[in-house]
């Protein structure tokens, strides 16, 4: 079991295939509509139609796969009125279902929308970093699934050494809010955090 696990996503090679989403749904048997991991499509740019029937464009698109980032300053934990949401000794943020009253505060507060409601059980649920797999020495289901090997995980310090400081790219929120354990390697067309040049083009999927 890692002491301080974190995710890394390489935007330069992620093709947005969403295998991570389905591997997560299968492993955790998630109900319809519940997506502990979500792949956002961030795209933008425009077209110019010229008089000679030709077109020019500056279109770009990239994907970013995000689950729970098991933040260092988890706002979901601080807003939880019942202490159900908590951070364990490895830094993994978990829901204690016996304490959760399903009030959604965590969902509303989280800038990544990681906590999600399980209507049948009446409680909030979220990515638990496949803590059971990690205890067996196995990678999280989403990481093991990634066909392009874009999504990886590891010890926070090791990832920092390997990839350097995480890139601050759109459409991710300011990491200062929660200090996420997430490293991002940008791709060719990545736009800076807060950029208005693109938007999330698949709201129905995430």
């Amino acid at each position: 079991m890692l002491k301080h696990p974190a995710f890394h996503i390489d935007i330069a090679t992620c093709t947005g295939c969403k295998t991570c989403m389905i591997a997560c749904k299968d492993k955790n048997d998630l109900a319809d509509g519940v997506k502990w991991r979500r792949v956002s499509e961030y795209a933008g740019g425009g077209w110019v139609q010229r008089n000679d029937n030709t077109l020019t464009q500056d279109v770009f698109a990239y994907y970013i796969s995000v689950a729970c980032n098991h933040c260092e300053e988890p706002i979901c934990v601080s807003v939880c009125p019942t202490t159900a949401m908590h951070k364990d000794e490895s830094g993994i943020v978990l829901v204690d279902a016996s304490k959760c009253i399903g009030c959604h505060y965590c969902e509303w507060a989280c800038p990544y929308r990681a906590p999600q409601y399980n209507a049948a059980a009446g409680v909030m649920t979220k990515c638990n970093f496949c803590i059971d797999f990690q205890r067996e020495g196995k990678p999280p289901a989403c990481v093991a699934a990634c066909p392009t090997r874009s999504l990886t995980f590891g010890e926070y310090e090791a990832l920092k050494k390997q990839f350097g400081e995480s890139a601050l790219i759109a459409p991710l929120p300011d990491p200062a809010i929660t200090k996420p354990n997430l490293f991002v390697t940008p791709g060719r067309t990545a736009k800076p955090m807060g950029s208005a040049s693109g938007s999330i083009r698949n709201p129905e999927e995430v």
Binding site: A12, T13, C14, T15, G16, C17, K18, T19, M21, I22, A23, K25, D26, K27, D32, G33, K35, V39, A43, G44, G45, G46, W47, Q49, R50, D52, N53, T54, L55, T56, Q57, V59, F60, A61, Y62, Y63, K138, A141, A144, A145, C146, P147, T148, R149, G187, R188, T189, R201, N202, E204, E205
Partner: protein, 807 residues
């Protein structure tokens, strides 16, 4: 659609296959089976107390084949994992399934599963059936088969294009000649065969006129390239497996960081990881390529020595005897041919939509990068002018002398590394007649009118019989994946024409609704089979797919079904040769072991082994390397032995076939406008070009009933903000996509990723008609045409004009 067999048939000629055998034999001689890894585990796998982990596969028709590890307890699948063996080092890497394979248990347990045999009670296509026993169903089939054979002969039996079980060995569903159904029919007099595929009809037919075959370098070979230009090639969507081409591509680029340019009407998922996207109007690739050729020739960037040595028909000095002056490719490009039009960048720009300065820049980059990999997917060829488009793209590789060398390519789609694993033997078809895969609806309506010169009938001047009986085993091209669903449904709806349709299927698909007799088939997780890799560059493998659960409901596998039917037709012993399904698998192991080192001796060993992987012992595959090295000793299989830029064979065909007005078969790869293309007058009525594409939700139509996949990748019409704005369409609005063939209703995805004037529908959504016949699933073939392409008589499924409006 079918991907894999084309891979096998076209990408590995006999010579290559023999070489592979020799190489693998050499490997074994090195001792210890170096390069062989015994991956994954079977029933010994660890789970909870009552849980087993069983190795199985996803073997649908995406070109990849993936390892699945099913967790099962009490005959119920609880989880699907994938290959987690070894350290994932490239060359022995994990064959990680994509999202579809990972959703397999939702497919196995789908509510649409067929539970028992049924016989139609309502009108054909209405979907009304009654439950019968297996004996009743098979008796009814046998009686009708004998009746039709007596009246029309075996030529009236057709095995429709079906690729749902493409990657199986015993359960293989395509090509027809490799299926258990073919073995049954061959024991009993044969059947009408088809040539070509819905995936590759035009390129598989046309490329051999240029090269003698249809081969490309492995994608891993781009480590030696200075530039890669992909035309309509999108492995991020069409070869998604973590053991397939997208992984090979990303690994190669990680090594070389080679510049990658994608030419496509869409900013594809491959464009998302590329260096540049050049947007081109659908169906205009040949115009762009002619203009690039114009620049290459004009600026001295063409490789004249290569053209003189290895090619026929580039210029007037290298033409076949007896051809009119100015018939060469160079004459066509420079405007010295019959059309008098120089194919300048300015000329092409207005057609393709690509600015002239971009064409010039692209041409110079292609001409100066040594070597340069020009490749294409199968989108550019799936057009009314696809036979010429695919050759036109290949011309860029020929003009620049990039054929037959590492880091170059032929301009065709990528090849790879295969192991020679034995196929289920199906005996010989006594009937030699063949039609194009796309012409079967016509063969129902006017079979005996169809001729070799007008309709592309092979091996007979005129069809002997119309199609009266259709076998449809594990496929959805009976309705959903064939073009023009309304026309297809009307033809099938006339019960006096095709008299019996037998569908053997897992689900109540749109095609299954048109069955007369509907037989519930096992999914591949309910049967034993082998799955052998297809589209992979540097590592081949075989998955020993062990039965995970007992067959659900009354479902039965295709082998036992055919064996029981063979009994009713009096040919059971011929069909089975005394073997059960498992005994055939054992037979295939024994047939394959001399050629594939490391294969297990027994089925029990195979199930324990799970997967066998073989690393390519040599360099990445380079197509036509021996020809390049010594063209005299190793000629191509074209009549001249050279690359036939001008094909005398096509010249003869173009002057002898009976073609509808507007259809052309030029001897050199010319640009021709399409009946439904950017230059078509029909665009005043239906202004938008509709292109279909491979979507992550489905492999063609397979997996189209899995809610998880619909949730993460919903069916949507992609439309540019400019076109959407003109129609007051907002993202998420329900829209009607229509033309004079049909209407489909679906939500709009408003995105700059598709160019203005073009709309996209992911192909394969399950046709869901309302009372008026309007589809509500976004099923693309409501809108496509059955007018075949000129040479291949293939499906032009990206040549459709439509209009879109808010629903």
């Amino acid at each position: 659609m079918h991907d894999s067999q084309v891979w096998q048939l076209n990408h590995v000629g006999r010579r290559t296959a023999l070489k592979l055998c020799a190489t693998l034999g050499g490997l074994a001689a090195l001792g210890g089976g170096s390069g062989i890894l015994h991956a994954a585990t079977d029933s010994s796998g660890v789970g909870s107390a009552a849980e087993r982990i069983v190795t199985t596969s996803c073997h649908v028709n995406c070109g990849s084949r993936c390892v699945l590890r099913a967790h099962v307890a009490n005959n119920i699948i609880t989880r699907i994992e994938t290959d987690d063996s070894g350290d994932d080092a490239y060359g022995m890497h994990q064959v990680r399934a994509c999202l579809r394979g990972r959703s397999m248990r939702k497919r196995v347990y789908a509510p649409e599963r067929l539970k028992y045999p049924m016989i139609r009670t309502g009108k054909r296509g209405e979907g009304k059936f009654k439950r019968v026993s297996w004996d009743e169903a098979l008796d009814a089939i046998a009686v009708k088969m004998k009746d039709i054979k007596e009246r029309f002969g075996n030529e009236a039996f057709y095995l429709n294009y079906c690729t749902g079980n493409l990657g199986g060995r015993v359960s293989k569903s395509w090509p027809p000649a490799q299926t258990p159904v073919a073995r049954l029919m061959n024991c009993w007099g044969g059947y009408l065969n088809h040539y070509g595929t819905y995936s590759t009809a035009q390129i598989a037919m046309a490329m051999p006129y240029l090269y003698g075959s249809n081969m490309g370098n492995a994608i891993s070979d781009i480590v030696s390239s200075k530039l890669v230009v992909m035309f309509g090639n999108n492995p991020a969507s069409t070869r998604m497996s973590g053991g397939g081409i997208i992984h090979d591509l990303l690994v190669a680029r990680e090594k070389s960081d080679v510049r990658l340019i994608v030419v496509d009407p869409t900013f594809t998922d491959t464009a998302a990881v590329a260096d540049e996207w050049i947007a081109i109007r659908p169906g205009t690739d040949a115009a762009l390529c002619a203009a690039i050729a114009h620049v290459l020739i004009g600026e001295g960037l063409a490789d004249q020595r290569f053209l003189d040595t290895y090619c026929v028909g580039f210029d007037e000095e290298h033409m076949p005897a007896g051809m009119p002056a100015n018939s060469s490719y160079k004459a066509y490009v420079l405007g010295q041919g019959p059309d008098g039009q120089a194919k300048t960048p300015d000329w092409a720009a207005t057609i393709c939509g690509v600015p002239a300065e971009t064409i010039v820049r692209l041409a110079r980059q292609i001409g100066q990068a040594k070597p340069c990999c020009i490749s294409q997917g199968w989108g550019p060829q799936r057009h009314s002018n696809g036979e010429d488009a695919c050759r036109a793209i290949a011309m860029l590789a020929v003009l620049t002398g990039n054929v037959g060398i590492a880091g170059g390519n032929t301009g065709a789609r990528e090849g790879g590394f295969l192991i020679p694993f034995a196929l289920f033997p199906t005996l010989t078809n006594p009937v030699k007649d063949e039609i194009s895969v796309f012409m079967w609806t016509d063969a129902i309506m006017r079979g005996q009118e169809m001729t070799a010169l007008r309709d592309g009938v092979h091996n007979r001047d005129r069809l002997k019989a119309p199609i009266k009986f259709i076998w449809n085993y594990a496929g959805n091209a009976l309705v959903n994946q064939h073009a023009d669903i309304n026309r297809t449904a009307a033809i099938l709806g006339d019960e006096s024409k095709c008299e019996m349709i037998v569908v053997h299927e897992n689900f109540m698909t749109p095609s299954a609704r048109f069955a007369d007799i509907l037989l519930p088939g096992t999914t591949n997780l309910e049967e034993n089979d082998f799955t052998v890799s297809e589209a992979a560059s540097e590592m081949a493998y075989a998955i020993f797919a062990h039965k995970v659960i007992e067959p659900l409901f009354e479902s039965r596998d295709i082998y036992d079904t055919c064996a029981d039917l063979a009994g009713r037709l009096g040919v059971r012993d011929q069909f089975t040769e005394g073997r059960t399904r498992d005994q055939w698998l054992q037979y295939l192991l024994e047939q394959s072991r001399p050629n594939v080192p490391g294969l297990p001796a027994t089925l029990d060993d195979a199930w324990k082994m799970g997967v066998v992987k073989v690393k390519n012992p040599g360099a990445p595959f380079v197509a036509y390397k021996t020809f390049r090295d010594d063209p005299v000793a190793n000629p191509l299989t074209t009549p001249s032995g050279k690359i036939e830029i001008f094909s005398k064979r096509l010249w003869d065909i173009g002057h002898s076939w009976e073609l509808p007005e507007g259809d052309r078969i030029p001897a050199v790869p010319e640009f021709t406008g399409e009946p439904e293309g950017y230059l078509s007058p029909r665009r005043s009525q239906f202004p938008l070009q509709l292109v279909t594409f491979h979507y992550k939700q489905r492999t063609h139509s397979t997996y189209g009933n899995v809610p998880w996949l619909k949730e993460v990748a919903p069916q949507e019409l992609w439309i540019n903000p400019i076109d959407a704005g003109q129609r007051a369409i907002r993202h998420g609005d329900s829209v009607r996509v229509f033309n004079d063939r049909g209407t489909s209703v679906i939500a709009a995805k408003v995105t700059p990723r598709v160019m203005p004037g073009v709309v996209l529908l992911p192909e394969g959504a399950w046709y869901a008609p309302d009372a008026e016949g309007h589809d509500h699933a976004g099923s693309a073939n409501m809108l496509t045409t059955q007018h075949p392409s000129p040479l291949a008589k293939g499906n032009p499924q990206h040549s459709s004009l439509v209009e879109v409006a808010r629903a």
